[in-house]
Symmetry: C2
Subunit: 344 residues, 2 copies
């Protein structure tokens, strides 16, 4: 086993050169002769030299590493976003260090500290459900480290964001339901202290308003994001004979729960109940009836996030103006909301 790794000094010694020359040769410095570069490279390979990025980073102050904080890695949307991020960062020569907050504020705060200690060149973050403060992000920002927020963000932190246009997405979804002849649309919302769920609600309201339908608060069910909640809430709606002929859900999972409840209670989807979910999870295509949903272009979002932070890192204008980049999601119409086909 190689007890000690070869350094540029070893190469220098073997070649009767100095470490500086070796360093420059390896970095393809213009003022080093081609021959020197050649022999240095050859020797490096021969001695199994591998550069020590750590030392270089310490010296240059640039770690060529970007931190990423997400609530959970194993979510369809998130993992696809990460995939998009990695593709871009990798090409640009950056590593990414990934942390999960596990929807926990304390872990998120700890993650930020860890990343700062690792001297990452920037931080990309999607906040946890619990994150109802901006202190930790502000602290990082004030320390001068580039930050980009995405998807779930704190709107009071003046940094660049990459977001889906959630309001537009909802608007499209609800408009679609209205055009299909549904008139009394319930909404399954998430926690409304999180931007994305607030925006989805806003789009829902906007579409209603445009169709002169009065917003009925009792049709908004907060915190209905998983299958069970969706199932229970839908059972309630049906059993209590609430006047509801469609559901627009902020989550495909609760939409699925709605579907299962309807099936069980013999309510026909889409005839008696239209359903639209959110996120275009893979299963939406395969359930029966297939589930109308919103495709969020996660990989593209990830790529945009990565490009934004890299741009910020490399063109570090002191007076950086935060950008807000919006990606327009797409409504994917499927069976669960297609009533008109059969009627018209």
């Amino acid at each position: 086993m190689a007890n000690k790794r070869t350094t540029i000094h070893d190469i220098a010694k073997a070649l009767e050169l100095t470490a500086s020359t070796v360093s420059r040769a390896l970095n393809d410095h213009p003022k080093i002769s081609i021959e020197t570069k050649e022999i240095v490279r050859r020797k490096a390979k021969e001695l199994n030299y591998t550069a020590n990025t750590l030392a270089a980073s310490l010296r240059t102050g640039k770690a060529k590493t970007i931190g990423l904080i997400v609530p959970r890695i194993n979510r369809f949307f998130i993992s696809n976003t990460i995939s998009g991020i990695e593709s871009v960062t990798n090409k640009a020569g950056y590593n990414i260090i990934i942390c999960q907050s596990e929807e926990n504020l304390q872990k998120e705060e700890q993650n930020i500290i860890t990343l700062i200690n690792s001297r990452v060149d920037g931080i990309m973050i999607a906040i946890s459900f619990e994150t109802a403060t901006s202190k930790h992000i502000e602290k990082a920002r004030k320390s001068g480290i580039p930050i980009v927020q995405f998807d779930r963000i704190r709107e009071d932190v003046p940094v660049s964001n990459v977001l889906n246009d959630n309001e537009m997405a909802s608007y499209l979804a609800v408009t679609h339901l209205l055009e299909q002849g549904y008139t009394s649309i319930a909404h399954f919302a998430g926690p409304l202290h999180i931007n994305i769920y607030r925006q989805r609600l806003a789009g829902y309201k906007k579409a209603l308003k445009e169709h002169n339908i009065i917003f009925d608060e009792s049709l908004v069910f907060e915190n209905v994001l998983d299958k069970e909640k969706g199932y229970q809430t839908t059972c309630q709606i049906i059993n209590n004979q609430l006047n509801v002929d469609a559901i627009f859900s902020s989550s495909d999972y609760s939409a699925l729960g709605a579907l299962l409840a309807a099936k069980q209670l013999q309510v026909n989807v889409p005839q008696q109940l239209g359903i639209v979910g959110f996120a275009n999870e893979p299963f939406t295509e395969f359930v029966s009836p297939s589930l109308t949903s919103i495709n969020q272009f996660a990989e593209e979002m990830g790529a945009t996030v990565a490009k934004t932070i890299i741009d910020q890192i490399e063109n570090h204008n002191e007076e950086l103006v935060p950008k807000s980049i919006s990606i327009v999601p797409k409504l994917i119409v499927r069976e669960s909301s297609m009533r008109s086909n059969k009627f018209n």
Copy 2:
């Protein structure tokens, strides 16, 4: 903006101490008085000090960082594995740097170099489809860096592995089909130069043998892993009237393709055709009929991978004996393979 970050020297100066003392105080060194520790900590907080892990790593030779190479992050099984890994590494104070090989050998080789340059303390890897050589992994291993392979591995590299017991899983699945009265079972395999697909085939053969069914090579379809391939292959099987009454697939996606083909060609599942997939993707539960599959306990696998590499890093016995850890997956029986209920 903080032009320069505070260092232990700044703290030392402010307190009329030396950097060594500050360093020791911050690291809770036993020989530093409690009072000193207190004032140092206070001052550190006051000056917004954040430790520079880079410098410490350079000095100690330990980066407290582990590299992870996977084919793609955005796969259900992989992202869940990563989640399990992160939970463990985080708790143990390690960062993880994630790279995607994108099923590409060249990228995988590059990833290894990058990780070595970053002086990671260890590497966890699941190889790409293209990886038909072990050179790059061997090179890393010989350089003395701890490596753990998982899921998709090169069997000729003498390092520790964490694997699903794919053979057992297949065996369970096929035995289940046989017990349901299916007698002529086709197998959708993956590329057979990859261990997991070879093992799945082996389990398939073993179950057949035990039931005295002669293995028929023409019923094994290699490289049928996605929905389209599954669909096409199943259409072929049905249209050519091959004598097949069940399909055991190495992938839920091709199993889904089989399901769709059967539906379209009016072949009843499970009565005329039993189907079992692999991986227990979320959609398997929701398609109709629901799909029998194999649950792989990805998070647990990830946790095991992380524990294994950390153990190896921290108890670095020169003569380390590679371990092979096997996790037994679970057969999840659903509608697509339950014929007996209706017959018996």
